[in-house]
Structure formats: structure tokens, C-alpha cells
């Protein structure tokens, strides 16, 4: 039985109650438009909200295609509020549209705040709504995860004729809170909880373990849902269940295993890194980092926070590695820097190495070189690819004393074009990983002192924001979707992430804001009133969203053992994500225009 006549199961209509959806469905008509037939001319009064049932609709501003709507997508959300459209809508391919009276939709937006928010919220509110959706996913994972996903421990057995003292010793050795007791055909469980009764009742430790074990065990199959195990524990008020495979016990699942599955285990990775003594120990920790990232992303952790967490772990990893490969005096007399996205703390999956060294005067050049090239090599082994541009400590260009750096930074600033300009940009995002941060501060002071106080210099610095402004990534993106090209991929780094990051970087440089994280820079720019607060918020939310898209795509690539790239296959995005991507690209465009005006980039 269909609940409503028309399919209203897609955003934003999925936010309606069944009664609301039925009423709206009953108020709808259907319109048909042939190929290239105009649906709404520019500037026309709009008394309806349109939902595409079939076909393809294009939205144009002048000659530019600014939006594409396909099955289950809705337009024109802006006109719903204003009653007038500023763009033209045309059926690109024969379209069947479901038409809802504007008054009815408006009435619903008042009655149902979540539904209303979809239409009237600012961009950053919309992204917030998405985050809420993700919270729901966390709960879903509880219902979809299997017991085998939780990672229970393999069983330790003891013979039923062993004494309680033997059992206690075995449990201590094996760090177990429970062990299996084998008694002929029977299998029992003996747990730390049993000791409470043993002590309380003054039972001798020479008693056979058989007499104090529980033989009627509650169990779950390995392939069962984790939720069922949780239910069983809750219902019977027990702390652990036996995990079986085809009825044979293969382990014990404790409440704490369940809890740790749903929270993070970043602490344990940090601990592993701390205790690592060999590169192999580090390798194990980095492998777990990937699993952690995937789990936390699914559980809905916000991107800026997740990136910070990864940065903290990566930093720790680099410190430990540098400590292992560098002789003590080199380690003590140097500052290891993370540059680029790693320095900004915006890298979530392993990215190319971007690092540099600031050295004290008088270190043995040979020793430094050896340690540095060893570091680069080991980083590669740990899964951090080499940087194509050679921004790595094994390159002489990226190892200098404070004096050396000061000179070279000023030289880059003087040239302010080509490689020099990009190198400078990379260095502006430097963050000290190991060693004294005063080295970096001195270099920055020298750079800031040497910066020319003229506007043209900053303009040249800002110019790369325009470098990817070709049709393929921007205007061309929507026409690509219109033509249903097989290749609906969008390089979101070129299209949006780089313009945002770089624009913010230049603004921060001008204002001498020394933090490197883009979210922090945005906050600082907003509080210094250099950026409008709304724009700063929108940019932060857009960037976080883009990072999330890149991470999702990256995790898929990793699962399929493919190289991680910046390309997003827009054809696979959900309606909501496509909508948000559209918004994020609009915000980027707005920001680029602001930067272009501020630095008069049209002069170039």
C-alpha cells in the first residue's frame, strides 16, 4: 500500500509527517514539458514548487547553466520565499513535474520547522541539518554492525579439574577477565566476578574451578547483530556473552567491547605510538589510524575535529620517527615542520609528505642529510607518498638554518611568482612538529619584516586563486551533468578547496594572523572584521562539507584499493549532498569575487 500518491520520500519531503505528506500529495497537479520547453521564464511570478518526477530540468542565468534538476529534485526553493524567480527554467529533456501550490508548501514550512529550515535556512544552517542526519547514522551503525565487527577476544581455556588458584594465575598471565572451562563435553565460563563470591564465602583457592563456573551460558552467533548482544546483556543483566560460530564458542564479547566499538580508540593508538621503539611498531599504529578515521567518520564526527585528531596522531608519529632516525644532537638542534595541509591540520587521510627542517648553526651537515633522507624513506614505508614537488626534508632546499630560511623566504617574497610564490604559500602553513617552536617564529618574523608594504605584492600573492578558473571545473560542471557525460567527476580541490584555503591564507598573511588552520584563520578574520561573519561561517561549513565529501570518496577508494584523489563522482552523490555541493560552490564563487575585488585581480 502506497502512503502518498506521489513519491515524497526524498529531501526535503522526507521531513514531513505522513499526514502532511498525504495532504500535500493530494494538493498536487502534474505538468508535462517537452524538450527545451520553457517552464519558468526569468523574473516570472511563481505560485508553485516543482518536483521532478521524470526528465531533466536546467536552470540558467543568461547563457550560463547554474543548476540541473533530475528525478526527485525540487525547484525553485528561492522563489518559494520570494514568489519570483531570478533565473530561467527549461525542460532539458521531456519532464514530468509534480506541482505543489506555493501557499500549501509555505503553510507546511510554518507547521514543520525542520521542513521550513530546508528552504529558509542559511547555508551554514543547512549543513548543520546534514550533521544531524549523520547522527542518525551513528545509531544505524548500532543496528547494522555485526558481532564479528566488534572485535571480541579469542578464547582461553582451562581444564575443569584445575584449581581456582590456577585459574587466577592464567587469567593474570593472559590479561583476561574471563576464561572458558572445559569439562568433557561441557563448556563453562569463569569470570573475575566469581572471585567476589569466592572471597566473600571463604572458599579455598584449591577448590576445583568446575565447582565455581557457570555452565548454562548465554551466547550469540558471530554473524548476529551487535544490537542483539546488547539486548541480551540488558535483558539478563549480564556483562558478557559467549560468541559462537556454528554453536562452537570462539570468544567472549564483553560490555566494554561493545562500548569501545561505538566510541573511538584514538587513545590506544596514541599509546601505541608513545611506546613504539621500532619503525614496525609505528606501521601497526598507522594501519589502525585508517580504521579509526573510517569509524569516526561513519559515526558522524565533524570534519574539523576529525582532522585535528588525525593531525595530533600524525604529529606524534613524525616526532617518534624523527627521534628514531636522527642522532641525538640533530634531534635536539632542529625543528621539524609539517607544511601544507598537514601543517594546517586539514588532512584526514594519508597525503603526500610536505615537511621541512630548521637547523641550529654548526650541526654536522653529513649527519643531518643522512637522518633527513632516512626520515623521508621511512615515511614512505609508513604509507605517506613522496611529494611530487619535492617539498621534503631530504631535499636541500627544505633544510636551512634560521638565517638561511630568513634569506630564502625574503627572496621568495621578492620574486612573488611561479615556484617561489607557491613555496612561500606552503611555508606560510608551517607548523612545528618536533623541536623548539621559536625557530619557526623567528623565520616568520624575518619574513613579515621583509614583506613589502604594497598592494601589488599581495595581489600577486592572491592571483593563484584564479588559476583553476577554466570551464571544466566551474561553469562546465553543470553542463557536464546536463549532458549526462559518463565522466561526472569534479576535482573539488581545484573547484573549491584550493580557492577557499588560498584566499583565506592571503587574507591572513595581510592581517599577520599566524595560526595556520583555515577554520582558525576564518575565525580570526571574522573577529578582526576583515571578513563578514556570515561569509566566514558559510566558508567554514562549506570547507568542512567538501572535506567530508573528499574523505567519503577517499575511504571508498581505499576500500577498493585505489589511489586516493580529489575527484568526486557527482553521479553517486545523494540529492541532499548534490544540493549542498551546489551551495558550497556558490559560496566559493562569492568568496572568490570578494578576493578578486579586494586585490583588484582583474588588472592582471
Amino acid at each position: 500500500m502506497v502512503a502518498t500518491r506521489f513519491d515524497l520520500s526524498h529531501p526535503p519531503f522526507d521531513l514531513l509527517t505522513l499526514a502532511e505528506a498525504s495532504a500535500l500529495s493530494a494538493a498536487a497537479d502534474i505538468l508535462f514539458f517537452g524538450n527545451d520547453q520553457e517552464i519558468l521564464p526569468t523574473g516570472s511570478m511563481v505560485d508553485s514548487l516543482y518536483l521532478v518526477m521524470k526528465g531533466l530540468v536546467r536552470e540558467t542565468a543568461g547563457d550560463d547553466v547554474v543548476g540541473v534538476y533530475r528525478e526527485h529534485e525540487t525547484f525553485d526553493c528561492r522563489a518559494l520565499a520570494t514568489g519570483k524567480t531570478i533565473h530561467r527554467f527549461v525542460a532539458h529533456e521531456e519532464a514530468l513535474l509534480c506541482v505543489f501550490p506555493r501557499q500549501d508548501v509555505l503553510a507546511l514550512t510554518e507547521k514543520n520547522p525542520a521542513f521550513g529550515a530546508y528552504f529558509f535556512s542559511t547555508v551554514s544552517d543547512k549543513f548543520g541539518q546534514l550533521a544531524q542526519k549523520r547522527d542518525r547514522r551513528e545509531w544505524q551503525s548500532l543496528f547494522t554492525a555485526k558481532i564479528c565487527d566488534a572485535g571480541f577476544r579469542s578464547p582461553v581455556f582451562i581444564d575443569a579439574t584445575a584449581t581456582i588458584a590456577d585459574a587466577a594465575r592464567l587469567m593474570k598471565e593472559q590479561h583476561r577477565r574471563s576464561i572458558f572451562v572445559r569439562d568433557g563435553e561441557r563448556i563453562g565460563l569463569f569470570t573475575t566476578g566469581d572471585f567476589r563470591d569466592i572471597v566473600a564465602n571463604g572458599v579455598s583457592n584449591q577448590t576445583l574451578v568446575r565447582e565455581r563456573s557457570q555452565f548454562s551460558l548465554l551466547s550469540c552467533e558471530k554473524s548476529d547483530y551487535l544490537f542483539n548482544a546488547l539486548l541480551l546483556m540488558t535483558q539478563r543483566n549480564i556483562h558478557r556473552v559467549v560468541v559462537t560460530e556454528d554453536g562452537i564458542p570462539i570468544g567472549v564479547l564483553a560490555q566494554s567491547d561493545l562500548l569501545s566499538f561505538f566510541s573511538n580508540h584514538s587513545l590506544s593508538i596514541a599509546q601505541q605510538l608513545e611506546m613504539a621503539t621500532t619503525v614496525d611498531d609505528l606501521t601497526r599504529a598507522t594501519q589502525e589510524m585508517e580504521t579509526l578515521v573510517a569509524t569516526l567518520a561513519v559515526q558522524g564526527m565533524k570534519m574539523p575535529q576529525l582532522a585535528r585528531l588525525v593531525q595530533a596522531l600524525n604529529t606524534q608519529l613524525m616526532v617518534r620517527l624523527w627521534e628514531m632516525v636522527a642522532p641525538p644532537d640533530v634531534f635536539a638542534g632542529s625543528a621539524l615542520l609539517a607544511l601544507g595541509s598537514e601543517g594546517r591540520g586539514e588532512q584526514i587521510l594519508k597525503a603526500d609528505q610536505d615537511n621541512a627542517l630548521i637547523l641550529a648553526e654548526g650541526l654536522n651537515e653529513k649527519e643531518v642529510e643522512q637522518a633527513a633522507s632516512n626520515f623521508t624513506e621511512q615515511m614512505l614505508r609508513l604509507g605517506y607518498p613522496l611529494c611530487h614537488g619535492g617539498v621534503m626534508v631530504n631535499q636541500k632546499l627544505w633544510r636551512h638554518t634560521v638565517r638561511g630560511w630568513s634569506q630564502i623566504l625574503q627572496e621568495w617574497a621578492r620574486q612573488s611568482q611561479g615556484d617561489a610564490l607557491m613555496n612561500l604559500a606552503i611555508f606560510l602553513d608551517a607548523e612545528t612538529v618536533a623541536g623548539s617552536p621559536t625557530y619557526l617564529a623567528k623565520c616568520r618574523d624575518a619574513l613579515q619584516a621583509g614583506l613589502r608594504d604594497d598592494a601589488t605584492w599581495l595581489s600577486r600573492m592572491a592571483l593563484p586563486i584564479e588559476q583553476f578558473q577554466n570551464t571544466r571545473v566551474e561553469g562546465g560542471f553543470w553542463s557536464q551533468m546536463l549532458n549526462r557525460e559518463k565522466d561526472a567527476r569534479l576535482d573539488i580541490k581545484k573547484a573549491a578547496i584550493f580557492p577557499i584555503v588560498h584566499g583565506v591564507r592571503v587574507l591572513a598573511l595581510e592581517a599577520d594572523i599566524r595560526v595556520t588552520n583555515t577554520f582558525d584563520r576564518l575565525g580570526a578574520l571574522a573577529s578582526k572584521l576583515i571578513l563578514d561573519k556570515t561569509l566566514a561561517n558559510d566558508l567554514a561549513e562549506s570547507l568542512a562539507f567538501l572535506m567530508r565529501l573528499r574523505l567519503d570518496a577517499g575511504l571508498v577508494s581505499l576500500r577498493e584499493k585505489k589511489a586516493v584523489s580529489n575527484d568526486i563522482d557527482t553521479a553517486t552523490l545523494s540529492t541532499l549532498d548534490k544540493d549542498l555541493l551546489k551551495d558550497a560552490l556558490m559560496v566559493t564563487k562569492r568568496f572568490k569575487q570578494m578576493v578578486q575585488q579586494r586585490y583588484h585581480l582583474d588588472r592582471f
Binding site: R5, A26, I30, L31, F32, F33, M53, E94
Partner: protein
């Protein structure tokens, strides 16, 4: 609308034989089309009892689903078990229905003198006429458009001489429309209306 002399004559003949109260009603034609469908207790016209009637207007490129007509009809006799499986209406569903006489009156009010549209319309019209003939003094005088016929005309132009599949699913597929689930008679009239609009945009509407 282009009609043959025979059709014109037949229309006039039927109008002439209409009982007075209906002559005015069925003479009103605003140029819209009405897609109609009935669910019946049997597929044989002679035995068939009407269980539900649906109708929806098409004006230009708009299907007036908002103002559609749909009613369940209370059958005179108990329902056959076999046919419940065909139309999906259980005795308990139709027991709340409208008395047949009232439903037919409301239906006439809704369609007026507009052209009727349907998929295998002949059958629906035959069942309706079974009741209308004694009521009106003649059968429904409305012009009729068979959507599968218009589909045939369109297809045959592209594939002369080929066998043309007129099944529901094939028509939906080839016209690239978004059919509603076959849930009730009203959904079917809406789907037929969508078929018609797709054909109309290909130049195969009412001539």
C-alpha cells in the same frame, strides 16, 4: 478535434436521444480531456459490477490530479474471491462505497461533455453504458480517445509493418514516463494522462 462524418452523426444521434436533464450537462465541452478508469467485479461486461470509478482532467499540459474524481461503489452482489485478487478491492473496502446511482450521477457531473481518454477504454465505456443506457435514454455521447491507439499511430510511423506491443509496461517504457504504482483506478487514470501528454508532445494528441 477531427472526427469522421459517421462519428459526428453518431454524436448528434446520441445527443438527440438524451433525456432532457442530461442534454445540457453532456453538451458542455470546454476542450479538456478526461482520463477515466473503472474497477469491476468481473472482466465480462455482462457480469461486471462497478467497484470504483476514477477520472482526472487534462488541460493543456496539466493533469488536474488535485481535483480528480475517485469513488468506491458499493456492489449489489457479494464479491468473487478470484476477482479480489485482480482489482485488490476486498468486500470490506467497497462496503463503505457510494450507492451506484449516486456515483454515476457524480461521474456525469465531473465528465460533462468532454472527450474521454483511457487504456482499453472500450471495456470501461461498455460497462458504464450498461447502466447509463436506461438512465440517459442512450449510451454516453462523449467522444473517445484510446491511448493505446494513439501510441500505435506514433510507433507505426517509426516502425512501419512491425508488430507493436501495446502492453501497459511497454508504453510506459517507450514514452519515458514515470508511472504511478498500480494501486487504484485513479493512479491508472493519471498514468494514462501522462501517456497522453507524452504522445501529445510527439504530435499524437487529439487531432
Amino acid at each position: 478535434m477531427r472526427v469522421s462524418t459517421w462519428q459526428k452523426w453518431r454524436h448528434l444521434w446520441r445527443m438527440h436521444h438524451l433525456q432532457t436533464p442530461y442534454r445540457l450537462l453532456l453538451g458542455e465541452d470546454d476542450g479538456a480531456l478526461v482520463s477515466i478508469d473503472c474497477e469491476t467485479s468481473s472482466l465480462k461486461v455482462k457480469d461486471a459490477e462497478i467497484l470504483s470509478i476514477a477520472a482526472v482532467c487534462i488541460e493543456g499540459n496539466r493533469i488536474r490530479t488535485k481535483d480528480a474524481f475517485y469513488t468506491l461503489v458499493k456492489p449489489q452482489q457479494a464479491l468473487d474471491r478470484e476477482n479480489v485478487q485482480v482489482h485488490g478491492l476486498r468486500p470490506s473496502d467497497v462496503s463503505e462505497g457510494m450507492p451506484l446511482e449516486e456515483a454515476l450521477q457524480k461521474f456525469l457531473q465531473f465528465i460533462g461533455g468532454r472527450t474521454l481518454l483511457g487504456y482499453y477504454l472500450q471495456y470501461d465505456v461498455a460497462v458504464l453504458n450498461k447502466y447509463f443506457k436506461p438512465m440517459l435514454g442512450t449510451v454516453l455521447p462523449n467522444h473517445e480517445v484510446e491511448v493505446s491507439g494513439r501510441y500505435y499511430d506514433w510507433r507505426v510511423g517509426d516502425y512501419p509493418g512491425a508488430y507493436i506491443d501495446l502492453s501497459w509496461e511497454t508504453i510506459i517504457k517507450n514514452l519515458h514516463i514515470s508511472a504511478l504504482p498500480r494501486h487504484d483506478a485513479l493512479n491508472d487514470t493519471i498514468t494514462v494522462a501522462m501517456m497522453y501528454l507524452a504522445l501529445q508532445s510527439r504530435g499524437y494528441g487529439v487531432l
